[in-house]
């Protein structure tokens, strides 16, 4: 009799334990669905001020802009494997005339006639690469600041050779002629002569 009673008690305890275990597992799996833990690294930069180093007035007329991108690479030979660094540089070459290069009497008028002698069309700014836009394409091995600077100079030379061509300079000059004629015509001059210095 007592044995029967004990067996029954054990069965009840086992069933209760099973039910409790099911409840706990269900709770962990379904009730706490939003459990998530991950290793994170903040990829943003800190807020720092922009300092104005200089401000100056200029008078540069841009008549042709050449936006270009160059894929530049460098390789370092090693015993087992070569190191390689490949970057894509972006730049915009602006061609036009700088009014600071004009002579004092570069515009001469008589009645409704006007003669303008413009300076030679040239690259307006030697700094034309937007280095902060550079894309890192491929890197293997370790590279120094000097290596990156040499890549920048290589990209610069390539951009100049591809964009600063006689055809582009002539195109800029033709556009300068057209735009200045339009400007002077708007001012009321009908006989307009545009010349460029050599």
């Amino acid at each position: 009799m007592e044995q029967k009673h004990t067996d029954r008690l054990k069965t009840v305890v086992r069933v209760l334990a099973l039910v409790l275990a099911i409840i706990v597992v269900w709770w962990l799996l379904f009730a706490e669905k939003d459990n998530h833990v991950a290793v994170n690294v903040d990829d943003g930069i800190n807020i720092t001020p922009e300092q104005i180093e200089s401000i100056r007035s200029i008078g540069q007329w841009e008549f042709l802009s050449v936006s270009t991108e160059e894929l530049v690479d460098t390789t370092r030979r090693r015993l087992l494997r070569d190191d390689q660094l490949v970057r894509i540089y972006y730049g915009t070459l602006r061609l036009g005339v700088d009014l600071s290069d004009t002579r004092g009497d570069w515009i001469q008028t008589r009645g409704d006639s006007l003669v303008a002698t413009l300076p030679k069309v040239k690259l307006l700014d030697e700094n034309f690469i937007d280095e902060a836009r550079t894309k890192a394409f491929y890197e293997s091995g370790s590279w120094t600041a000097r290596d990156r600077e040499l890549l920048y100079q290589k990209a610069r030379r390539q951009m100049l050779s591809h964009a600063l061509t006689p055809q582009n300079l002539q195109s800029a000059q033709d556009n300068a002629d057209q735009q200045f004629r339009q400007l002077f015509r708007s001012m009321g001059y009908s006989n307009i002569v545009i010349r460029f210095e050599n």
Partner: protein, 223 residues
């Protein structure tokens, strides 16, 4: 009909057999001509005619900094977790110089922009715009500090931080007052030109008119 069909079938079979046998007797195909590709100067160019008068130039300097802290973050049993892991820090400082220029767009300039009243002349120009014309990273001055168990900064990571710094400079443009300076400088650039055309300085007026876009008109209507 069946005889004709059978003959046609036979002809087709013979032709296919000849073709297949011909394949075997064909000369070995010539070696494919491989075109050498110069992988270095991959060039994409966009050439655009324009008529812009750049009147002011700003040189800016910015030091881009980044602190790299590894954290264990998330939520467990409705408890928020944000624990810094003892894996060491990484820090980098990147000095950058940028050039901003304010300009007037003369591409739509016409007689409508010029008002004459006797000897007086008024030039009406569109509002100046600002452009980021160049940026330069001072590679030699980049400083980085990396913990023992951390890897150094890769080229891709540095480029990402530099792009963020560039965006920060662009976002700072409205606070710099470049547009106002460009207006003043436009007058300084154009008045000498007009005096050479025969106008007296006191008879010259340089005015600016904003080009209203649809969202501007909507904004003013709401006001």
């Amino acid at each position: 009909m069946s005889t004709v069909g059978g003959c046609l079938l036979g002809v087709l079979c013979c032709a296919s057999a000849l073709g297949c046998s011909g394949c075997h007797h064909q000369e070995q195909p010539a070696e494919a001509n491989y075109q050498a590709i110069d992988s270095v100067p991959l060039l994409i160019m966009q050439i655009q005619k324009c008529a812009r008068l750049y009147t002011t130039e700003y040189h800016l300097h910015k030091i881009i900094t980044h602190d790299d802290v590894v954290k264990l973050q998330g939520s467990f049993l409705k408890q928020n977790i944000d624990v810094k892991l003892p894996l060491g820090d990484r820090k980098v400082a990147i000095p950058m110089d940028a050039t901003l220029k304010g300009y007037i767009d003369f591409s739509t300039f016409s007689e409508k922009n010029v008002e004459r009243q006797g000897e007086k002349i008024t030039i009406i120009l569109p509002d100046p715009k600002v452009e980021l014309t160049s940026t330069k990273i001072n590679q030699e001055e980049i400083r980085s500090y990396v913990g023992l168990v951390r890897a150094g900064f890769s080229d891709a990571e540095l480029s990402r931080y530099e792009q963020q710094g560039r965006e920060a400079i662009i976002n700072a443009i409205p606070r710099l007052g470049i547009a106002d300076r460009a207006r003043e400088s436009a007058a300084r650039a154009l008045v000498p030109m007009l005096t050479q055309m025969g106008f007296r300085e006191e008879n010259i007026t340089i005015a600016f008119r904003r080009e209203f876009k649809p969202y501007d008109i909507r904004r003013y209507l709401e006001m």
